[in-house]
Subunit: 360 residues, 2 copies
Amino acid sequence: MDPRIREHAETIVDHSIDLSAGENVVIDAHPQAEDLVVALHELVADREAHPLVVQNRAGKRFQRAFLRNHDGDFELPAHEMALYEEMDAYVAIRGSDNVTETADVDPETTAAYGTATQPLLNERLSKTWCLTQYPTASHAQLAQMSTEAYENFVWDAVAKDWEAVRDHQAQLVDILDGADEVRIRSGETTDVTMSIAGNPPLNDYGENNLPGGEVFTAPVPDSVDGEVLFDMPLYHQGREVTDVYLRFEDGDVVDHDAAKNEALLTEVLDTDEGASRLGELGIGMNRDVDRFTYNMLFDEKMGDTVHMAVGRAYEDTVGEDNERNESAVHVDMIVDMSEDSEIVVDGEQIQTDGTFVFEE
Amino acid sequence: MDPRIREHAETIVDHSIDLSAGENVVIDAHPQAEDLVVALHELVADREAHPLVVQNRAGKRFQRAFLRNHDGDFELPAHEMALYEEMDAYVAIRGSDNVTETADVDPETTAAYGTATQPLLNERLSKTWCLTQYPTASHAQLAQMSTEAYENFVWDAVAKDWEAVRDHQAQLVDILDGADEVRIRSGETTDVTMSIAGNPPLNDYGENNLPGGEVFTAPVPDSVDGEVLFDMPLYHQGREVTDVYLRFEDGDVVDHDAAKNEALLTEVLDTDEGASRLGELGIGMNRDVDRFTYNMLFDEKMGDTVHMAVGRAYEDTVGEDNERNESAVHVDMIVDMSEDSEIVVDGEQIQTDGTFVFEE
């Protein structure tokens, strides 16, 4: 086994989920991630915790088969809910044989499944959790990289000094903490303002996401105004959506289009009421994620980028007295901030062309 | 996908577990069985039931890692227990990359794990369940067959007319129902008697085991006397045990040896009190299982064989007023009955050299 896999497992167990004796952990893994699952079991045994491996549904052939053969009238599975209710920690390991495996599933069916099973997601998110990546050949292909180069990319991104990352990012947290208006401007195509008043900015240093490397919070739902061209593409349900354009008025998306797969974007926005409002504003700060790999877990962490998600806001990012945007979806989209761009907080320019004031 | 895989899935869903709308099903699968898992999901969706795929521990690298790195002080995992409590049906699909993957795990550790997690097994066995096989290359190798020949062997064995099997086997059930003493004699090496008074004989026609093909019940624990040489080998925890010899007095094993891996046999018998008493007497009746493949799911169903298991008795095989043998283990072992052998029930010879009285 590549020694970096055991290091990856150590980071998950000791840093990301900080596993304790007696805890019940679910490892939600793609079979290709077997080496990482083995390495995790060595540590879970040593920590005297209790593992159960479930097979990740995302992008799997069996999930495609289930969704395509279902009448769309989904119900919440009580046994899976019971599992998560008794679970203390959740490790989801992304991997794939074919990242476009669910490309021929009706987006409406996927949305209906997401809505019906949302309590499963909420339950998982209420526990200690970590989402990470195993470097499979199909994800390397998605990134247009060789498998070996992609392995290096993933394991380098994971093997950071996360305490140093925390300290660096804390400078941005200090700026956003207690702030009100955030304005994001990039080129002629993006100029949007939103309030984050009362919502805490969170420092992501490799806990819920591994790799981490962003500072994020939730916009006040009805405060978003302006337009955004997300100039970095996204993969959603095995399909690429490019040049997503959203125009907001009083928090709602009032106009949208995309150069490719616009129908999928429309389906996402129509999922439920919260799906056409923002649930997250994130600022990528991980300069070791040095290339775009069509994988949001990495892409949204890139330095010189900002991302916004339509849909569900994370509970921890919403202040006690603020409204939380609820939705069955949470879809991140990215704006490149490296040129002719600025982030302005309460009138003060805090980032210019990707460089923060505290980096100058 | 080979069309026989979809037929296999249909037999599981419609015959073995008879899945209904709204039921919560757990599919416990080896990743190599992906095609069968996909075919099952097509049907589970059509039947409007709720699937969850967990990764089979048996013989897996991650389970080896867990057991080898554990101090042996195992606890019951509450989250897995909660999953099974809310589950209606359980499908376990055997498969393997390497059937000897756990050959270097201390048998004492495995026994301790089995004891601590026995409530999980009991909970699964209390639900509708089916154990079946996916024809992997490693199981073909174990059987000393090509992969294609082994695929034919497995899918032929599964694709039987199970109603006809039920009717044929019912003739043996009729003989054993209400009987008292069973005597099994084979050559000079096996001559054992036991009472089955009050314990119902069960007709296995492809429900809990797929393939099925046996009639089985539980001996009255303290009634077993005599000696048995199990002349067919068994694989247990990735190790082959050959020529197991057991001598019983008043139900207890008072002497034992084996030509190969006797220490593993000793470990099994020492697991707990019930592990050195019989929990099952089974009579194989499936003549389509026409060769020994070192896989108990098939081997114990072979015509011209009898098997006995030390350890746990199945609940349904024990009459209300009878004692049930309890144990963390259930290990089947087989006697070849094709030559110089007889089964005698209450003084009447019901099988001679493998041929039943109703087959003459």
